[in-house]
């Protein structure tokens, strides 16, 4: 087990190295002029040269790459051109909001997706199954920005049940920052006013972000459940005289969830991606919106740092999933 984890960690380092190479070269090869973007079109040439020198942009690209990689090894992702702060510091500020949104929506998607999946497997071809099928097809085929706008239109603009954008209403006093995750901090500081308001704000973006994840989890759970229900050991469980409920929840479910866990890991990654759009639509102050803003002003250290960080989170999520696998499936324990 220890060796397995070590191997996975090494592999992760390799993947992250690959990602940083790719991100670095994409950002540096696109014909854009970050200094121009920073200083404006008609800055004096000396100032432009001085700025380039300061940013190391006058060095050959290989040297720049070397500097960047060396920085990463020291946990230094460079200085954001826009905020003038270390990118790591920016990430620390913006990432908790993204993480909170992602965790919230993955909890909802897993709960909803697994339940839908089980019901549509157990009651195959019933109305639950048909509903879940349509729900899922829409979920995987509708673009995030479209679902987002439609939900905003219905629940905010027409019905007025839920707030529109942001993490809190204008007049709600935010909780003292401990983890940076607003709901968690509200609980920790006992600020129930902020908790209630924060909860109302997170529902729509979490629903939008989690919709396609719910859809694919429901489909995989259904397929996996149907597969497990055909296995020999299910017949044994029935032959023991166990009731249908015990057969499904005690004997089939744990087996059926094994492939679902992998999907949850992948889904968590795609939630981080989806956060870019969702955060933009809902004005959510997270890392996704941070990266979009960085793109708009060609803040290349922020773009690279943010992307690399998301890749790191993605790999970590998958590592955790593989370890969970071993807990669920005794055959995987080595």
């Amino acid at each position: 087990m220890g060796r397995y984890v070590l191997r996975r960690l090494l592999l992760m380092v390799l993947v992250l190295f690959g990602v940083s190479v790719i991100v670095f070269f994409i950002v540096h090869v696109i014909p854009a002029d970050p200094v121009g973007a920073l200083l404006g079109g008609n800055a004096p040439p000396q100032l432009v040269d001085q700025m380039k020198h300061q940013l190391g942009l006058d060095k050959p690209i290989w040297a720049q790459f070397g500097d960047y990689m060396l920085g990463i090894l020291h946990g230094n992702l460079g200085i954001s051109l826009k905020s003038n702060r270390p990118v790591t510091q920016d990430i620390a500020e913006y990432f908790p909001a993204t993480l909170e949104l992602a965790i919230f929506s993955i909890i909802i998607s897993v709960a909803l997706g697994v339940v839908l999946g089980i019901l549509s497997a157990v009651y195959r071809n019933s109305w639950v199954d048909h509903f879940s099928r349509i729900f899922s097809i829409l979920g995987v085929s509708m673009p995030v920005f479209w679902t987002g706008l439609i939900l905003l239109l219905i629940f905010y603009y027409i019905l007025g049940w839920l707030p529109g954008t942001g993490q809190l209403s204008l007049f709600t006093i935010p909780p003292h920052r401990i983890t940076g995750m607003l709901l968690l901090d509200s609980i920790l500081t006992g600020n129930w006013e902020a908790f209630r308001d924060g909860l109302a704000h997170i529902i729509l973006p979490a629903a939008v972000l989690g919709y396609s994840a719910t859809a694919s989890i429901a489909r995989i759970t259904r397929a996996s459940m149907l597969d497990v229900l055909r296995q020999d050991f299910i017949r044994t469980a029935k032959a023991k005289g166990l009731s249908g409920r015990v057969v499904i929840y005690r004997h089939a479910l744990k087996n059926a969830l094994i492939p679902v866990v992998t999907l949850i890991g992948l889904t968590f990654g795609s939630l981080l991606e989806g956060a870019v759009l969702t955060e933009t639509i809902f004005g959510w102050p997270g890392l996704g919106r941070y990266i979009v803003n960085a793109l708009l002003v060609l803040d290349y250290p922020a773009i690279m740092g943010g992307t690399l960080f998301i890749a790191l989170m993605y790999s970590l999520a998958n590592l955790i999933v593989d370890l969970t696998y071993a807990v669920l499936d005794p055959r995987m324990r080595i």
Partner: protein
């Protein structure tokens, strides 16, 4: 009633598949008494497993019992409530299968799986069943403490089948169905498992249906033999009668491959192919392969009649209308 433990009457089971409707059981007749050992033999696909699953009440989608019934201790299973059916499986009938490792739940420890059976049979909590678990595992010759904490993939096929036997016998069932319990195991292990079954069943007094390919094993283990062909029981008699004086042309063909009782030999088919059960032959389903086939054989199915005392056969050679005799 023909058997005081089990009576299967004119059981018809079909499976709805994309290839068409598989007429798997075509009016099976089968009966047995308490503590009797019945061997069920016949080629692969003739309906042995489907028969045993019907007796367990486990025919499910895409299968359906379209007519006939199974009476267990005189009670119609078609008329039993869900609860009665579950109770019957938990307490009165048990089953062991061909692939012991895949018949056990891969994510549960053996001890738990045995405990579950005991708790079901004795209406006690699973936790309270553990002393009994160790006793049962010991009874089937396993290192009880260690085995209880293992997962199925950590057991050999033989050990897994012993664990299955422990599970199946923990309710001391009236009837144990063993569906080819040794065909997936090594030859040396096969003999050990059959010996173990023989010993335990003798002690506990369970009736057994043994489904097997091995005529030698059937001859040694069983009091009665029922021969199945393409969804019907075509002959049923005491083991001695079946081997010394087989009546049905199909049984005769089967036995040509086995020179002597007690000599283990695989069941070799007879010339011709196993019929397609989507479009089965009309009348006697054996007629395309039968050397004695007559005109009427392809028109109407011969009923299972008692040709000699205690010896039943479904063949026109033995009815009044039979025009000529075999041999």
């Amino acid at each position: 009633m023909r058997g005081d433990l089990l009576d299967v009457r004119e059981l018809k089971v079909v499976f709805y598949t994309y290839r068409g409707i598989i007429k798997a059981l075509n009016g099976v007749e089968l009966w047995m008494n308490h503590e009797e050992r019945l061997g069920l033999i016949g080629e692969t696909g003739c309906g042995k497993s489907v028969t045993s699953l019907s007796i367990m009440g486990l025919i499910e989608q895409p299968g359906e019992i379209i007519s006939g019934d199974v009476y267990f201790e005189g009670k119609s299973m078609q008329k039993m409530s869900m609860e009665e059916l579950h109770d019957m499986r938990g307490k009165k009938i048990s089953m062991i299968f061909q692939e012991p490792v895949s018949a056990l739940n891969p994510v549960m420890r053996i001890g738990f799986q045995v405990a579950e059976s005991i708790s079901r049979a004795k209406d006690i909590k699973i936790k309270e069943a553990y002393p009994e678990v160790l006793k049962m595992l010991e009874l089937v010759g396993l290192d009880s403490k260690r085995t209880a904490s293992l997962y199925p993939h950590e057991l050999s096929g033989g050990m897994a089948q012993r664990a299955m036997i422990a599970m199946a016998l923990s309710s001391n069932p009236k009837l144990l169905i063993a569906d080819e319990p040794t065909s997936a195991l090594d030859v040396t292990i096969q003999a050990q498992i059959m010996e173990l079954l023989d010993e335990l069943v003798r002690e506990m007094g369970n009736a057994v249906i043994l489904i097997t390919h091995d005529m030698g094993v059937a001859a040694e283990f069983c009091d009665k033999i029922a021969v199945m062909y393409a969804g019907n029981v075509v002959e049923r008699a005491s083991t001695v009668d079946i081997f010394e004086e087989p009546l049905h042309p199909y049984t005769k063909g089967l036995l040509k491959a086995v020179p002597k009782i007690g000599q283990s030999k695989e069941l070799v088919g007879i010339t011709g192919t196993v019929p397609d059960l989507v479009n089965p032959p009309t009348g006697c389903r054996f007629h395309p392969r039968c050397p004695y086939a007559m005109n009427k054989c392809s028109q109407k199915m011969p009923p299972l009649i008692e040709a000699k005392p205690g010896h039943h056969v479904a063949c026109y050679l033995y009815t009044q209308e039979g025009e000529h005799n075999a041999n």
